[in-house]
Amino acid sequence: MDSCELQFLTGKARQLRDDAIETIGTFGVGHIGGVMSVMDALTVIYYSKIKNIDCKNPRKADRDRVIMSKGHAGPAMYVVLADLGYFPREWLKTLNKNGTNLPSHCDMNKTPGIDMTAGSLGQGLSAAAGMALAAKLDNNPATIYCFIGDGESQEGQIWEASMFSASHKLNNLIVLLDYNKMQLDGPVAEINDLAPVEKKWEAFGFFVQSVDGHDLEAISNAIDNAKASIDKPSMIVLNTVKGKGASFAEAAKNCHSMSISEEMWRKETGRY
């Protein structure tokens, strides 16, 4: 990655964070923590890596897919999709309001650009695996990106899907674990520990990389390495900070879901 691209992505990630803070703040409450923690990886995927997407044809057959299995990070997807022109930016003001096309959890039938419905945790990875398998059957060049949460990884279906993906050598599947180490009720390690998470995924047959989930260059390199995998699906462990880039969320004891006042989001974004 050259310095010019790094500078662009850094600015873009900041802008998208501000968009998300404003979007959730405008509604008044939302899953700010997990939205902020995936934003750097989403930025790298959508503004550097993704292939064959077209905002005018969101269901283009050979597009790369992005499945947000931790479906409560829907607003992170929405700010990206709005920025890329899938729908008008004004829609962001309707988040979670009556009749909106932007519900808190991702809905493929409501929001242009959303590739899979999610919200009941643990389900998105199976769908991603099915997409990756179908792509292989059809010689479709699509790469399937799937974000999962660390708390979500307590669902047994994640491990059913991981075993299946390795068994079918789905090297067109890149799973990104948002390892921010916090879930709704507290630290993952205290509630039902996921560690040693890299060893678990290696044991399940994945090509595993562990990176700083806020280092854009490291994420970019990890995705390039993942795409070069010959016979294994990939796991990229994103070591992240929940609420990253929203100072009030980072300072909070638990920022899984927070109330955000107008004063808070304006001060944070400098948007008046």
């Binding site: 493929m108 769908a127 695996a129 099915g130 059957l137 479709n140």
Partner: protein, 312 residues
């Protein structure tokens, strides 16, 4: 008369034929290929048969993902594991997502026989019927299964197929004109209507003969599609006979009796007697024995018909 064809083998072979012309069709199973006679599909299309192993949640999720890529997956398991075990996956990843997945649940109700209570679903249609837009279908014999497949394929949405696996009583021949969602008036009558599905259809026809000997003229409807329900046919028959008996290999709570009562009570309230499992769990035993235990025999239908007529 017992059919000379198994329903499972008939469906599998029909899928092979359909898949030759339609490359969207894929078959998935959860380690029960041998029980579903789908080996012929695997041999014909090795890459389009996916055995996910014993992981029903993943079975449905993978099917949903393939459907999102334009495939038409048929996801098989025993009925309790194809429904109860992965209910939220069916609800969210398939139905709520609007994806075109066909779910085949085999060995419904007493057909589970020696596998017993853990494998004997009397509630599968009830829970599937509660999912918005889910089409719920129970084939009666091999001919019906074969004739239903084009409609099932043509329907762009989720379908649950409650499939008796083996050789059922043969009811239909090649003259059957099948339409998903449209019940079949098998025998006309004027005194009482027997609405039956699956293995209960043959018993309903036997009950009609016995009732005839007692001077009672029973109408028999095969309601193979429980949802969407053929309300027009039910109302027409209820107006004519004024009394209904439902017959199902399923719990009456949420099952065929409930569905018929829901349809008629809001349009043409009619006395109804429900022959079905009365809020019980399953157990091991032969079909005939279990049918006695759960009161779903021919004579139970006859008694219910006499009671329903008295309620007029």
């Amino acid at each position: 008369m017992t059919d000379d064809r198994e329903i499972r083998a008939t469906l599998a072979q029909a899928l092979v034929e359909a898949a030759k012309k339609d490359d969207r069709i894929v078959v998935l199973d959860a380690d029960l290929m041998s029980c579903h006679a789908t080996k012929c599909f695997k041999e014909a299309f090795p890459n389009r048969f996916i055995n996910v192993g014993i992981a029903e949640q993943n079975l449905i999720g993978v099917a949903a993902g393939m459907a999102a890529m334009g495939k038409i997956p048929f996801a098989y398991s025993f009925a309790p594991f194809a429904t109860r075990r992965c209910y939220d996956q069916i609800f969210i990843s398939v139905a709520y997502s609007g994806l075109n997945v066909k779910i085949v649940g085999s060995e419904p109700g007493v057909a589970a026989e020696a596998n017993g209570g853990t494998h004997m679903p009397f509630e599968d249609m009830a829970i599937m019927r509660a999912i918005p837009k889910m089409v719920c279908f129970e084939p009666t014999d091999a001919t019906m299964m074969e004739k239903a497949l084009p409609d099932i394929l043509a329907h762009d949405g989720a379908v649950y197929i409650r499939m008796f696996r083996k050789k059922a009583e043969k009811i239909y021949d090649d003259s059957l004109e099948f339409k998903l969602g449209k019940g079949i008036l098998l025998e006309e009558g004027k005194d009482v209507t027997i609405v039956a599905s699956g293995i209960m259809v043959a018993r309903a026809l036997e009950a009609r003969v016995i009732l005839k000997e007692q001077g009672i003229d029973a109408e028999v409807i095969n309601l193979h599609t429980w949802k969407p329900i053929d309300k027009d046919l039910l109302v027409r028959s209820a107006i004519k006979t004024g009394a209904i008996v439902t017959a199902e290999n399923h719990n009456v709570y949420g099952g065929l009796g409930s569905a018929v009562a829901e349809a008629l009570s809001t349009t043409h309230p009619t006395p109804i007697r429900m022959v079905g499992v009365q809020d019980e769990f399953g157990q091991v035993g032969k079909n005939a024995y279990l049918s006695e235990v759960y009161h779903i025999t021919t004579s139970d239908i006859v008694s219910a018909a006499l009671e329903a007529i008295k309620m007029k």
